[in-house]
């Protein structure tokens, strides 16, 4: 069951790539600064590089967390990942906000409720990180925007330099976002198979995880990229750039800590932070509802699906 179990993770990786990774170049593609083809190729490459260079820490953390919660066989790991993948797919189909990180933790807890021992103490760390993601992004984008306004604006007052800075900035922040996302989110895809469960080595986990995310980006990210981009193009070019860059910073920090978080929620936080500088209310009821739903709804749904799968397939086997 070892390698077939990894298939469930690969499906989740593909869903993550087609959904979450679209944030990296969404604004740049929607404003036609970067071609879609270039965007997906760059995202795919840097997701793999990021996963390889930064993914180990998160992979260990998720692996340990799952194992200590009782996900100690390849069959259990398979159903946890299947539950997470089904949650992400279902919510994407229903156009509901979804975070892969939150789906994976929810699925681990759900499975552990029946097939193991849910580790809520350790789980608290993940919950805190989720809450802190948009708030951290608010703070970072607020500071970045202030710095930009005070020190950078004057030096890019030339029309051509302004345009060049924005174009290069979108490439750099998109690449950075893809790198951070790979480093941070690869743990969601293959973390559960590493460590004491030992289905995959760390090296194999980061490579397989990175490749599956990249496959999702390359094959099925156009729709989400368009939707995310449309919400960001209403911002000025500088605001759009700072939003993506902030999200990349936040996700990168959590990659270093080793906790997978949602890049989409980081972007939402960044936009709110810019709104605070400009004195504009960018917080709508829908935005708050989406984030709160992702915090509580996603892990709950994933947990319930996982619980059912464990009841049907694991406990009865």
């Amino acid at each position: 069951m070892g390698l077939p179990s990894v298939l469930a993770g690969a499906v989740l990786g593909w869903a993550l790539g087609s959904n979450g990774a679209s944030n990296c170049f969404a604004a740049a593609v929607s404003t036609r600064i970067v071609k879609y083809r270039t965007a997906v190729i760059l995202t795919a490459i840097f997701v793999i590089i990021g996963a390889y260079a930064e993914g180990a820490k998160g992979i260990f953390k998720i692996g340990d967390y799952a194992y200590s919660s009782g996900i100690d066989t390849s069959t259990k790991a398979f159903f946890v990942m299947l539950a997470a993948a089904l949650t992400v797919t279902l919510m994407t189909v229903l156009h509901l906000p979804v975070s892969t990180s939150q789906a994976v933790i929810g699925a681990i807890i759900g499975g552990a409720l029946l097939g193991g021992k849910p580790d809520f103490t350790e789980g608290i760390k993940f919950f805190i990180a989720w809450f802190a993601t948009p708030f951290g992004a608010i703070a970072i984008s607020f500071v970045l925007y202030k710095i930009f306004e005070k020190y950078v604006e004057k030096s890019i007052s030339n029309y051509e330099i302004y345009d060049r800075v924005i174009i290069i900035g979108y490439y750099i922040s998109g690449i950075f976002a893809a790198y951070s996302l790979g480093g941070n989110n690869v743990a969601n895809v293959t973390g559960i198979y590493v460590g004491k469960l030992d289905i995959l080595s760390v090296k194999a986990a980061v490579i397989i995880g990175g490749i599956t995310i990249a496959t999702g980006v390359l094959t099925y990210s156009k729709g989400v990229m368009k939707t995310v981009g449309e919400s960001l193009v209403t911002l000025s070019p500088v605001s759009g750039l700072i939003s993506v860059f902030t999200s990349a910073i936040v996700v990168f920090i959590y990659a270093k800590i080793g906790i997978p978080v949602s890049a989409s929620q980081a972007i939402v936080g960044a936009v709110i932070g810019i709104g605070l500088v400009k004195g504009v209310n960018t917080i709508s009821f829908k935005t708050i509802r989406n984030i709160v739903f992702a915090w509580f709804g996603t892990p709950t749904i994933a947990g319930i699906i996982s619980l059912f799968l464990f009841k049907i397939f694991v406990l009865n086997s």
Binding site: S157, Y159, D163, S236
Partner: protein, 217 residues
């Protein structure tokens, strides 16, 4: 810097276009001045030809700019802004060519009472166009400085309003003269066309203001 070579080339073309349109307008005013001072003569026709040549020159620079934009320099939004700006500026040259052509074709001459108004309209419009050229250069070279040129934008608007007044007074006088209605209508249409150039100049200044606002961080 080599890095900005393409953009520099393109922006120098924008200035070249502004220069060509301004030259076209200068020739156009010279033609009107000649017409008002010495009546419709050979020199007016020569100047009309020169206006046409200047318009063609502006047009070919406009094409060069479009070719430059096709290379993908600048942000797509900036390309759109630039195209609009060039189209509007080009309209001035087109208008000058058309008006002076019609004056020669229809053998139009203004009455003495109308001439001072025509002079005022063309002079004020000329000042507007000079200010616009400076503003365009400023917006493209130093946006921060351009922000401090709000007075210039207000000046362009004020001049447009003064041109409107001159146009109104000229037409007011015209329709109280004892001339045929057909001639009144003919002159009214030409006066309105001459004053229209000032409206276009104001549209350009609005556009520049929009560019500055949108690029403010």
């Amino acid at each position: 810097m080599l890095l900005f070579k393409k953009e520099r080339e393109m922006l120098s073309l924008v200035d070249k276009h502004q220069e060509a349109v301004l030259e076209c307008y200068e020739l156009f005013t010279e033609g009107l001045k000649e017409l008002n001072e010495k009546g419709l003569n050979n020199k007016v026709e020569i100047l009309a030809k020169k206006v046409g040549e200047a318009e063609s020159k502006a047009d070919s620079v406009r094409h060069e700019i479009i070719q430059s934009l096709l290379k993908g320099v600048l942000l797509p939004e900036s390309r759109r802004e630039l195209l609009k700006l060039i189209e509007l500026t080009d309209e001035i040259a087109n208008k000058c060519e058309e008006i002076i052509k019609q004056i020669c074709l229809q053998q139009i001459e203004f009455m003495e009472e109308i001439k001072p108004h025509i002079r005022e309209i063309t002079e004020k419009t000329r000042i507007q166009l000079i200010k616009i050229r400076e503003l365009v250069n400023m917006v493209f070279s130093n946006m921060t400085k351009a922000h401090s040129l709000q007075d210039e934008l207000i000046d362009i608007e004020r001049l447009e309003s003064e041109v409107d007044d001159e146009e109104y007074n000229a037409i007011y006088k015209l329709f109280r003269m004892k001339v045929e209605l057909a001639r009144k209508n003919q002159l009214k249409s030409i006066i309105a066309d001459i004053a229209d150039i000032s409206d276009i100049a104001e549209d350009i200044s609005d556009m520049l203001e929009m560019i500055m606002v949108l690029r403010k961080v």
